[in-house]
């Protein structure tokens, strides 16, 4: 790790002034669970850290009939234990609880979960987001067991690491991004992007901008939500594939459906064909299986990760069964 300055402003305006358009000059510090490891591994070496901890408004959870407003510094632990979230946004609470360990949930934040960098081992090993060694892409011929199976036609092969993004996208959430002059609301679906060159970043937040809050519309009556993660280990492990499902039911028929996959593509991956297949149907094991299959249509596994196609299918199937109360999670 290289030496750096540390600033802890008390207002958003002050924080914005401490940032710069240059990512090497300053970066935002929230819980630090990812940033610290990036710096220790010399993946980044910012000259200044701007801690948001003392900006009170970023810690707020507000809810009313219209929806939920989560300050960027609300912790994952709060998400997983907040009674209102548990009642109205159970998928979000589940997703937060799925994050590795109590320690990480205590420190990790909503904004940090969305802005954390990919876990690709070539990226973390110093080969850049596109994993290039003297111009040659390392992932296609390398060890890609944890890489993308969708949206992976290059030059990006990493998977989006966010635990919250799939369910937030399924809930039609928006992210407020505050710049030096103006702020904007970005749908989660547009928040992430797949870089097409080595100079591009994996989300739309510029170096001099700050994610301040996440806005989630209140689900209409008949909302059912769930997430399902396939992980090898019980704890302290990344999902191999994950799915978030949000459906509305009228009687037992699906009226609207959102299905979003995580850890399978450089961005959270919305499975629209699968959603369409689901609308108008009653969910049962066969339907869920078919929808799971549809969700990975177009998958193009790399040399070592075909298994993830199957895992993604199962994640969708089980998330859907769980959302509709038909799956007591099969505990192997």
């Amino acid at each position: 790790m290289q030496a750096f300055d540390y600033a802890r402003p008390h207002s958003l305006a002050e924080a914005l002034k401490l940032l710069s358009t240059d990512r090497d000059a300053a970066v935002v510090l929230a819980g630090g669970t990812d940033l610290l490891s990036l710096m220790k591994d010399n993946v980044i070496a910012p000259k200044r850290l701007v801690s948001l901890k003392s900006i009170e408004e970023l810690h707020r959870v507000e809810h009313n009939a219209h929806g939920l407003r989560l300050g960027a510094l609300v912790t994952l632990d709060t998400l997983s234990t907040h009674p209102v979230i548990a009642q109205h946004y159970p998928g979000l609470a589940e997703a937060a609880l799925g994050v590795s360990s109590p320690q990480i949930r205590n420190m990790g934040t909503v904004g940090g979960d969305l802005c954390q960098r990919p876990r690709c081992w070539y990226f973390r090993g110093g080969y850049g987001l596109l994993a290039l060694d003297q111009g040659k892409a390392l992932v296609p011929d390398g060890d890609n067991r944890y890489h993308a199976i969708l949206g992976n036609h290059g030059p990006a092969y990493f998977v989006n690491p966010s635990s919250l993004a799939p369910i937030l996208m399924a809930l039609d959430a928006k992210v407020r991004v505050q710049g030096p002059k103006t702020s904007r609301e970005v749908p989660v679906a547009e928040f992430f992007r797949t870089p097409t060159s080595a100079t591009e970043y994996e989300n739309v937040v510029a170096a001099n901008e700050i994610v301040t809050e996440v806005l989630i519309p209140a689900p209409a009556a008949g909302s059912h939500q769930a997430v399902y993660e396939v992980r090898q280990k019980e704890a302290l492990d990344w999902p191999l594939a994950a799915a978030a499902v949000h459906v509305h039911l009228a009687g037992n028929k699906v009226t609207t459906a959102r299905i979003v996959l995580g850890h399978v593509a450089p961005t959270p991956w919305r499975a629209e064909a699968a959603e369409q297949m689901l609308v108008g149907k009653a969910v049962n094991e066969d339907v869920a299986t078919a929808v799971g299959r549809a969700a990975v249509m177009g998958a193009s596994p790399l040399s070592r990760n075909a298994y993830k196609v199957q895992l993604a299918r199962v994640a969708v199937k089980r998330a859907l069964l769980r959302a509709t109360g038909q799956l007591a999670v099969p505990k192997a």
């Binding site: 030496a3 876990r119 390392l138 011929d141 090898q232 990760n305 192997a332």
Partner: protein
């Protein structure tokens, strides 16, 4: 053997041995009072850091450390490998610096100018056809008439590919030390399994008299066989310290720990096994290969334990640029076991035999310990509820979650090593004893105190033990399960000698002769006349002004130790056939190791081995990148270890009593870690009906095996 005054007390006459005593350093460790090498910060200490090679095979063509030398805070720079040297693995150390802070040391490393000429490397070996000239084919070893065994038209033959990849030791406390000079006296705090042994290594490496070197290690955060050497970083810390005139701490970072300081060699094998129709084993053929870095790897003892009469086997040692091999608990045994016991399990399945019945059928091939194995199968089957849960391969329940049971067995030596103990009994009753051994976390302190307490008739709280410092009498390295036998027998002999001196001093006061006395329950008393006794303190007061000093050692007289143990383990797993996830329901370990001194720390040793075993069975693999030659998971994120939620229920049973106790003390560190790979792989095969060829049993491989099985 004729009775010796140095024998162990017989059952019924033991006060401490064979009971359950909590480890004496538990409170210090759990409260943080125990200071590991990594925790120590002597006054004026500098931080050492090393520049590591990014290439797996490369020649150093240019090196300039002048800028680093003049960086702020830098007190010493030492070139480890200079221009012209060929680096053989990524992470190899090239230059070391010592600076006032860690940050300054890192800055100095960045200021070093170095150029390499990269050369073509080899870092993977599972596909033997790709290793080219880096594979060294050994001589074929033959026994009996294997061709006849396999050509017998009545023979049932099973063929398969099996393997275990390279894994790392993953010590929680990394390798390294703190070196400090006082004039020409070198003092080293090291994270080591060999306090005594390091003295000679530092002396030889630095060309100084051994009498000027002192090595200290009070606590160690894991070694597992990887910490027997002073190592290059040890020598470098001493040199940096000498040059800087201050103590230097040089301990590996996590990535270096994973890249260069731990490597258990891999073994892969194509195996054929033959048996008669009734399940009697007749033949073994194997073509095996493996790597443990540039030096290749040792030949695993195939077939493991089972003395199949007709054999033909050949091993290829593959030299790779992955960092050097180090001993890992029971060197070569876990690999040989994982290959043999899975191949035999496949044969048993082909014969449609219960694997335990299969081993019973072949009991004659299990060597000296065969009768013990049979007892252990019985106990293991009971604890694992084998009769209730075992089913023929793949014939489990319907639904996506399949449950299965698997069994394995193993052996090890474990004879006590050479070491010397010294004990003093003061006229005020104080007892102190010492040895330059180390407690790896296995309970060495605890069992030494138990043996001393048992012998002197005192509670362990009344005795002071000093270890972990080379100023005490020589200890042995803690490797090969040799420590408990060594330290317990040396302590026993020394305490008996000390007691003889005390008896001689006390006897006149009790109107008896020394040989009529015994030390029991905090008293010195006349045997058979409990009324004629003196409390320990009053007895010691008879010494006058001179303390007793006694010293004895291992090896020595008396039937205190032996070697050769057996163990049986049974794994109970559930496999999610839709995701390939393997969940541990239970591991059962039944283990013998002669006379068990402390049942509690012995069981604890087995618990640790099972947890480690679940780790290498399901998760662990040193993943090397072909293109860059680097390790892709030199961390604890993608180098996965088992957590509490992953290990399931652990049931441990130590075989004790008649038939075991009279064998004396035998080591336990290695044996229980040998079988988990085979037992868990067999349980998965039993659950899903097909073999997953290689460890670890990851979801991708489980799904691939299921798919292959479905299309077969």
């Amino acid at each position: 053997m004729a009775p010796s005054k140095y024998d162990w007390p017989v059952a019924g006459e033991r006060s401490l041995i064979g009971t359950r005593v909590s480890r004496v350093d538990g409170p210090a460790k759990t409260s943080g009072q125990a200071k590991y090498t990594l925790d120590l910060v002597p006054p004026g200490m500098l931080y050492g850091k090393m520049l590591k090679s990014p290439y797996a095979l490369a020649k150093i063509t240019a090196l300039d450390v002048s800028a680093a030398k003049s960086m702020p805070g830098v007190k010493a720079v030492h070139v480890i490998q200079d221009v012209g040297t060929t680096i053989q693995w990524a992470g190899d150390e090239i230059v070391a610096v010592a600076a006032t802070t860690e940050g300054e040391a890192e800055d100095a490393l960045r200021a070093i100018k170095i150029e390499y000429q990269p050369l073509p490397h080899l870092v993977t070996e599972e596909d033997l056809s790709q290793v080219g000239t880096r594979g060294k084919l050994g001589e074929e070893q033959r026994m009996g008439d294997p061709d006849k065994a396999f050509s017998d038209p009545e023979a049932v033959i099973s063929e398969g590919f099996y393997g275990v990849p390279v894994i790392t030791h993953c010590c929680l406390e990394p390798h390294g030390d703190i070196a400090a000079w006082n004039g020409d006296q070198l003092e080293v705090h090291a994270s080591t399994q060999a306090v005594t042994g390091l003295v000679g290594q530092f002396a030889e490496g630095l060309q100084i008299p051994a009498s000027t070197v002192r090595v200290i290690c009070q606590y160690i955060g894991g070694g597992f066989g990887s910490k027997f050497q002073a190592d290059r970083w040890g020598m470098v810390s001493a040199r940096l310290s000498k040059a800087a005139g201050a103590p230097v701490k040089l301990m590996l970072e996590r990535d270096a720990e994973q890249m260069v300081a731990g490597c258990r060699p891999s073994t892969f094998a194509n195996v054929s096994v033959a048996a008669t129709k009734d399940g009697t084993l007749t033949g073994w053929k194997s073509q095996s290969w493996g790597t443990g870095g540039v030096g290749g790897a040792g030949v695993p003892p195939l077939p493991y334990v089972v003395r199949i009469p007709n054999q033909a086997k050949r091993h290829t040692a593959v030299s790779t640029n992955i960092g050097p091999a180090r001993a890992w608990r029971a060197p070569n045994h876990p690999q040989a076991c994982a290959i043999t016991m899975t191949a035999l399990d496949d044969l048993a399945a082909k014969l449609k035999m219960d694997p335990i019945a299969f081993y019973r059928k072949n009991a004659a091939l299990l060597g000296d310990r065969s009768a013990n194995y049979m007892e252990e199968f019985t106990k293991g089957a009971e604890l694992a509820e084998w009769d209730k849960h075992w089913h023929p391969r793949g014939a489990g329940s319907s639904g996506p979650i399949k449950r299965g049971l698997g069994v394995s067995l193993h052996t090890w030596g474990g004879a006590g090593h050479a070491c010397i103990c010294r004990m003093r009994i003061q006229p005020d009753g104080a007892v102190e004893f010492e040895m330059s051994t180390q407690d790896l976390g296995t309970g060495t302190r605890t069992i030494m105190l138990m043996v001393a307490g048992e012998t002197l008739g005192l509670p362990i709280e009344a005795i002071t033990l000093n270890i972990g410092d080379s100023k005490y009498p020589a200890g042995g390295a803690s490797g090969g399960s040799t420590t408990v036998g060594g330290v317990s027998s040396a302590t026993r002999r020394t305490a008996i000698d000390a007691l003889d001196q005390l008896f001689a001093a006390v006897a006149p006061s009790l109107g008896a002769t020394a040989d009529q006395l015994e030390a029991v329950g905090g008293q010195i008393r006349v045997k058979g006349a409990p009324g004629k006794a003196l409390p320990w303190k009053q007895a010691c007061a008879k010494l006058g002004v001179h303390a007793i000093e006694a010293s004895n050692k291992n090896p020595g007289p008396g039937a205190l130790i032996s070697s050769g143990v057996g163990g049986v383990q049974i794994a109970d797993v559930s496999v999610d056939t839709e995701t390939g996830q393997v969940t541990m329901n239970r591991m059962v370990a039944v283990q013998d190791c002669g006379l068990v001194i402390d049942i509690k720390t012995a069981e604890s040793q087995v618990f640790g081995a099972l947890i480690m075993g679940v780790g290498y069975a399901l998760f662990e693999e040193k993943i090397m990148d072909r293109a860059t030659g680097r390790m892709l998971n030199p961390n604890m994120e993608f180098y996965k270890l088992a957590g509490l939620g992953d290990v399931g229920e652990l049931r441990v049973h130590m075989m004790t009593g008649p038939g075991y106790d009279e064998r004396g003390v035998i080591g336990l560190g290695e044996p229980p870690v040998i079988s988990p790979g085979a037992a868990i792989s067999n349980a998965v095969a039993n659950a899903i009906g097909v073999r997953v060829s290689t460890l670890p049993l990851t979801p991708d491989k489980v799904l691939a095996a299921l798919e292959k099985g479905a299309s077969a």
